[in-house]
């Protein structure tokens, strides 16, 4: 593995607090999802339907994006297009500057993380206030999100209590979650109203109305997007859906998969700026539609464009649960992140991500839109192999093994030497150390092999008529 990935993994594995925090959050998520799915007799049918809804929009993406744009413009929204993250960030920063913004509130958006928006806002000298509770926590800790639904999944309540005691005006020490939530509510209240610009993402872009849909539990999206003079939406172009009905239908599978609820507390559609007679709402409404690799995915892995960002694959991934989100080194961790990050950052530096996976298939099983994640991950391995990016040692080992495996006589000849040799290193029934097996024996013992293989024993029995 690459040195950078290796370091991050080692750091994560050496942190016992991380394991506790991850297990609390993902364990709760797994239990709640299981209950929600068990209460839905034809969840399998709903999954198939949800995949079909996304596939339909992806198949007719240009048609629906064009329709969305026309309707959004008609509502008074301003629509911007960005090929990559630089263009997207520049558009957002320019809008902020054009209205003389000093403070910007943000409700959680993974696309924002993906394109590096927090950094771009800071570089432009804007005060950024994260309003989602978890994003608030990691902003205080000066960290990046480690989970796409629970950005602070790597922090225990004890960690959060310490952060709040250090940074909040209310210093009352408490590890009671309700009290901590109340403290954050107080802390962020003024910022909602002092910001000139509020930035949100979008869960869906609704083609037939030109509205964007946000789904949140806290209510921070509405407080981020309603009081400021300007609301900026950043969204990937794959968020397009045909109509309001399909947007709502997708939330049906998205929300139970994420949190186990039927619906989030707030499902909101935002369509254009403040209208005559409105007592609240933004004067300007901007939508920034971002490609950033999506048109490439349309060609190479269209199934991945179905992804609703529910996080179920993270919660059920044994690797994610072992190393947490930061070890992945990208905006998106877990199985979906290991598929996406090579698109954004290039495979050369990220080939560990699709390789560091047991291909156990649980991610695909829990995916609400049936994305064949293991197949896509293996697809990256194929590209890595074909591009000669695998370590030379791995290439030699794989080629040698396959060479011998395709030649049974040679294979058995080699085996007839290897087995007795391995037995030489055994103590009792086990080998706990021997040359060339450190990958295995570092973690566990290896059972002592028999003197003769099954095939040799079988041939001998056949020969003696047994």
């Amino acid at each position: 593995m690459s040195a950078a990935f290796d370091l991050r993994v080692d750091k994560a594995l050496a942190d016992p607090q991380l394991k506790i925090a991850l297990e609390r959050t993902t364990g709760n998520a797994r239990r709640k999802r299981a209950l929600a799915v068990a209460a839905w007799p034809d969840f399998a049918g709903a999954r198939t339907a949800a995949a079909a809804i996304k596939d339909h929009a992806i198949e007719h993406m240009a048609y629906y994006l064009d329709m969305f744009e026309r309707n959004a413009l008609a509502s008074g929204a301003q629509v911007h297009w960005a090929r990559d993250s630089e263009e997207a960030c520049a558009i957002v920063v320019d809008i902020c500057k054009s209205v003389g913004a000093k403070t910007v509130t943000r409700s959680k958006s993974m696309l924002g993380e993906e394109i590096g928006l927090p950094h771009a806002l800071a570089a432009a000298g804007l005060r950024r206030v994260e309003t989602d509770l978890a994003e608030h926590i990691i902003q205080l800790a000066n960290e990046t999100p480690s989970h796409i639904i629970w950005p602070a999944a790597h922090r225990t309540k004890e960690d959060v209590a310490e952060l709040f005691a250090n940074f909040h005006r209310d210093k009352t020490p408490t590890t009671d979650i309700e009290s901590m939530v109340a403290s954050a509510r107080k802390e962020l209240r003024e910022d909602f109203f002092s910001a000139e610009v509020g930035i949100s993402g979008a869960n869906f872009l609704v083609a037939d109305t030109g509205a964007i849909c946000t789904i949140t539990n806290e209510g921070n999206a509405e407080l981020t997007t309603t009081p400021p003079r300007v609301h900026i939406v950043t969204a990937g172009i794959e968020k397009i859906v045909a109509d309001t009905e399909q947007a709502l239908q997708l939330t049906r599978v998205l929300v139970p998969s994420a949190t186990g609820a039927d619906l989030t507390q707030y499902t909101s559609f935002h369509c254009g700026p403040k209208r005559p007679g409105d007592l609240d709402g933004p004067e300007q409404f901007h939508i920034v539609l971002v490609d950033h690799g999506r048109t490439r995915m349309l060609k190479e892995m269209p199934e991945m464009l179905r992804c609703l960002r529910c996080g179920a694959c993270l919660n059920h991934c044994v690797v994610y649960r072992a190393i947490g989100g930061h070890a992945y080194g990208g905006a998106y961790p877990g199985p979906m992140g290991s598929v996406l990050t090579p698109i954004f950052d290039g495979l050369e530096t990220t080939r560990d991500l699709p390789n560091a996976c047991t291909l156990n298939g649980q991610c695909k099983q829990v995916c609400p839109v049936d994305i064949p994640l293991p197949t896509l991950l293996r697809g990256w391995r194929e590209k890595s192999w074909n591009g000669g990016m695998e370590p030379v040692k791995t290439q030699i080992a794989i080629k040698l093994h396959a060479f011998a495996a395709a030649r049974p006589a040679l294979y058995r000849f080699g085996q007839s030497f290897a087995l007795p040799l391995m037995r030489f290193f055994a103590q009792g029934g086990w080998i706990s150390k021997m040359p060339l097996t450190s990958g295995w024996t570092a973690a566990r013992d290896l059972p002592k092999p028999p003197a003769k293989s099954f095939m040799a024993q079988y041939a001998a029995r056949k020969g003696t008529g047994q």
Binding site: M1, V9, D10, L13, V318, V319, A322, I323, N355, A356, C357, T358, L359, N360, G361, Q362, K364, Q365, R378, R381, E382, K383, S384, W385, N386, E390, T394, I398, K399, H401, A402, F403, A404, A405, A406, P408, Q415, A418, L419, G428, G429, W430, G439, W440, A442, A443, R444, D445, L446, P447, K448, P449, P450, K452, S453, F454, M455, Q457, Y458, A459
Partner: protein, 254 residues
């Protein structure tokens, strides 16, 4: 039973069983014969090619897969005591030869007749073990490929349910990956260690005397970890119990 109704089964031993645990191969032979099959063990078999395929090395996997197809395509069935290897042949060979009209067809043809041992015994042969006994408590680990690619879940429990004296206990994380993952466990040994560590803890917490499963690869991983930790849990392939061949457990000397 006349020979016409006895299906001809080619036993795909799997490379790990061949090299490290022949007893599972002999147990499979015994069970298949007891289930009324004519069993042969083609000599031209080695490995299913999964290590290279899952490393993305399709080019070097092709000759290995062709050899397996040639060795087994004339049997009524290919049966393997592993969901992982059976899954490779059933699901991934057709994928590997997707662009090859001739080998693609041969791969699909073999895939349609490929089965994991325990599900084959129940679903295809309607087999129930007779006279098997094992007085012990056990937990059963569902191996990922068997469970998710091939739907192996109820079959081993049904078979083991017929073993006199054997009590199957429920345990936390029975469907969770053990961290083996083929080459993963050596390429990312530290992550694998963390995953199998959790698995071993769950097995120990169950208090079961035996850990059973249908894939030697996973069993070897978990047994190796349990032994490293000094646990007394004995680990067997389910076929060994069913065939009455559960003498020495994995890592115990004969």
């Amino acid at each position: 039973m006349n020979t016409q109704t006895r299906p001809r089964v080619g036993l795909f031993v799997t490379c790990l069983v061949d090299s490290l645990r022949p007893n599972i191969g002999f147990a499979a032979l015994r069970l298949l014969e007891a289930a009324g099959c004519d069993v042969a063990v083609p000599q031209a078999q080695t490995c299913c090619g999964q290590p290279s395929f899952n490393s993305g090395a399709n080019d070097v996997t092709v000759p290995v897969a062709r050899q397996t197809i040639e060795a087994f395509e004339n049997f009524d069935y290919l049966v393997a005591p592993s969901g992982s290897c059976a899954g490779m042949i059933k699901e991934n060979y057709p994928e590997l030869f997707a662009d090859d009209p001739i080998w693609g067809l041969r791969a699909k043809n073999l895939a349609a007749r490929t089965h994991e041992l325990l599900s084959f015994l129940v679903d295809v042969r309607g087999f129930a073990p007779r006279g098997a006994a094992c007085k012990a408590t056990a937990v059963y680990h569902d191996s990922c490929s068997g469970l998710r690619e091939l739907g192996v879940k109820a079959q081993p429990r049904k078979l083991l349910g017929a073993v006199e004296g054997l009590e199957l206990l429920a345990f936390e994380g029975d469907e969770t990956c053990c961290g083996f993952g083929g080459t993963f466990c050596v390429k990312y040994s530290n992550i694998s260690n963390s995953i199998v560590g959790e698995k071993a803890a769950n097995v120990r917490a169950s208090g079961a005397e035996l850990l059973l499963g249908g894939d030697f690869s996973c069993l070897m991983n978990m047994a190796g970890k349990l032994h490293r930790e000094g646990a007394k849990t004995r680990v067997f392939h389910a076929a060994e119990i069913l065939a009455g061949m559960a003498g020495a457990a994995i890592g115990e000397e004969n």
